[in-house]
């Protein structure tokens, strides 16, 4: 089985981040980078599926230098090789259709059986890239998957719905899945695995290498501006030491429950 796992290096913001006026961009100095939480589960799911039938796992990411770090992470956690689509601008767009189009070309080039993505990315949660990718490929797909079992030329899955409900279903291959957190316990990369990851193949491709002209990159939307949400609202903050905070909380709890709380 040939597996593709799509990963993303996501940004999180400092407490006192700043927007760059006019540039519709967050000041890069206030962004810290890490592997998207969902993607760690997608990598583990892909590696386990490959281990079960001597398959190969290719990790792919779209973006600049940061994206290479996500791929090294994937290689350290068991992916066999990696492809970075070197398009920092595409990553900055936060447009799931553009990203999905690039990843679909990678999936086609690698003729994969199963593509796994995280359900969403934490910095720009569209929850859409994986299923859009399937739309470009024209293959079966299931979103928010919490269990995977390979059965011959099909997969038996559980997809998570709202309120604790799930659906069991079978899909034919090839297929694209978006993977939910908690589907497995992602392994930690050992020091040795991290060192070894640097020796695994990491290819860098442009959109042109994949046969796509810049003007043909699809866009779902154009960004008009970035802003911060209106302040106000928010909590009434309780000051003091732990003892004083606990006392004030207790007072609020008692008042709201309308009774003394039994011990």
């Amino acid at each position: 089985m040939r597996l593709l796992v799509c990963v993303k290096q996501v940004g999180s913001l400092d407490e006192d981040f700043e927007l760059r006026p006019g540039a519709a961009q967050v000041d890069p100095d206030s962004v810290e980078w890490s592997l998207n939480e969902w993607d760690a589960f997608a990598i583990e799911a892909a590696v386990r599926m490959a281990e079960a039938d001597r398959g190969e796992v290719v990790a792919a990411s779209v973006g600049g230098e940061e994206a290479a770090q996500a791929l090294l992470d994937a290689l350290a956690r068991g992916a066999d090789r990696a492809i970075r689509v070197d398009e920092p601008e595409l990553q900055r767009l936060h447009d799931p259709l553009a990203t999905a189009r690039a990843l679909a070309l990678v999936a086609e080039r690698e003729s994969v059986d199963v593509t796994l993505c995280g359900v969403q990315s934490s910095d720009s949660p569209h929850g859409a890239t994986g299923v859009a990718l399937a739309g470009y490929l024209g293959v079966a797909h299931v979103a928010v998957v919490r269990a995977i079992q390979a059965e011959g030329a099909s997969l038996v899955l559980e997809r998570e719905l709202e309120g604790g409900l799930a659906e069991r279903l079978r899909v034919p291959l090839p297929a694209v899945l978006t993977v939910q957190t908690g589907i497995n316990q992602p392994r930690y990369a050992s020091f040795r695995a991290v060192k070894k990851a640097k020796e695994k193949p990491l290819e860098t491709l442009s959109l042109q290498d994949l046969g796509l002209d810049q003007e043909d990159v699809p866009r779902g939307a154009e960004l008009l501006e970035l802003s911060t949400p209106p302040s106000g609202g928010g909590a009434e903050m309780i000051d003091g030491d732990a003892e004083e905070i606990a006392a004030r909380i207790a007072e609020v709890v008692r008042r709201r429950l309308g009774t003394e709380v039994a011990s």
Binding site: G11, L13, E15, F17, L19, V26, A100, Q120, S124, P125, H126, G127, A128, G130, V131, A132, A134, G135, G138, A140, V144, E158, R159, L161, E162, G163, L165, A166, E167, R168, L169, R170, V171, T181, G182, Q185, R219, G220, E222, L223, L224, E225, L226, T228, P229, G234, A235, E236, I238, A246, A247, I249, E251, V252, V253, R256, L257, V261, A262, S263
Partner: protein
């Protein structure tokens, strides 16, 4: 090409509440000049939902009859294809739900629609669809203009209802062919865990998050919850880690709770978690990170070590 198409959601024969939010947003777009609103539902028996989905201001309810009782993502895609070809809308609204996420992005991609998912707001300005969406845990808001006709917006559920009165609206039905290629085969439902505590009935929830750091931390707070007469609930990461049973999970994929008091200890406040406490009475949050999004939703907040506060609680609430 004009008008708005709102795609509702039915599951196991029942309309889901997110459908009403989509209709509310559709009515608003329609009033703002986007044209007539058609409301669509895909189900084995779509006409059975006519009474629930009819509101004053809706032009028509369009039922698409699905070949299987539970339409899968591929069936939804074929249905959306048929609806778009038939009605030629300028704007399409879909709930940002588990089902919506499963099909809408694929159609937007394969047919080249304008697209924005997890939108907080949708608007209509000079003949195009606009939307607002959150980045970095909603700490930054992006205003976008959708580029494509039609444009499809997936709206994040937030509990709104149409202000218009329910009314009988014209009904028409469309058919789609047999189960499409690549369709998923429905094998059954996995019901939520029914055993254990029912956190939806509790008046006082002590809810714990990533801040507890390990399983021992959970044990410690479970003991505190018992001492102060609270029921323990948790955010998703602790369930994912296997430290808390899934029946205690609060949030979109867990339970929606409405206690009189929700005391959140070490919960940062992911969007999916906040969706589960929309109906909670008083929310009190304790977190070491002053930038945690939960403080925006809470009534009271304290920047402090959760264990120190928790340890001091029984004395005051015993």
């Amino acid at each position: 090409v004009s008008g708005v198409l709102a795609i509702c959601e039915a599951r196991r024969g029942e309309v889901r509440d997110v459908s009403l939010e989509i209709i509310a947003a559709g009515l608003e777009l329609s009033e703002n000049g986007a044209g007539e609103l058609n409301v669509a539902v895909v189900d084995a028996d779509p006409e059975s939902h006519a009474a629930t989905l009819g509101f004053r201001g809706v032009s028509a309810l369009v039922g698409v009859r699905a070949p299987d009782p539970q339409p899968d993502a591929r069936t939804m895609e074929v249905a959306l294809d048929v609806l778009v070809d038939e009605l030629a809308p300028a704007a399409i609204l879909v709930p940002y739900s588990a089902d919506g996420q499963g099909y809408a992005p694929a159609v937007a991609a394969s047919r080249g629609f304008g697209f924005c998912a997890n939108a907080l707001e949708v608007g209509w300005e000079t003949d195009s669809v606009t939307a607002k969406r959150g980045l970095y845990g909603d700490r930054v808001i992006a205003s976008v203009r959708l580029t494509g006709t039609p444009s499809l917006v997936m709206l994040r559920p937030r509990g709104t209802r149409p202000s218009a009165q329910q009314a009988s609206v014209p009904y028409r039905q469309l058919e789609i062919p047999d189960p499409p290629a690549m369709a998923a085969e429905h094998l059954g439902w996995v019901e939520p865990e029914a055993e254990g505590v029912d956190i939806t009935k509790a008046d006082f929830l002590l809810s714990v998050g990533r801040g507890v750091e390990d399983e021992d931390g959970v044990e410690e707070l479970l003991a505190v919850a018992e001492q102060v007469g609270a029921t323990l609930s948790s955010s998703r990461p602790l369930v994912d880690a296997g430290w808390v049973e899934s029946g205690r999970q609060v949030g979109q994929s867990g339970r929606t709770v409405k206690p009189k008091v929700y005391l959140a200890l070490g919960i940062s406040g992911a969007i999916q978690h906040l969706a589960g406490i929309r109906e909670a009475g008083t929310v009190i949050a304790v977190n070491t990170d002053p930038g945690a999004p939960i403080f925006m939703q809470a009534d009271y907040g304290a920047v402090a070590d959760l264990f120190e506060v928790a340890k001091a609680l029984p004395k005051h609430l015993g």
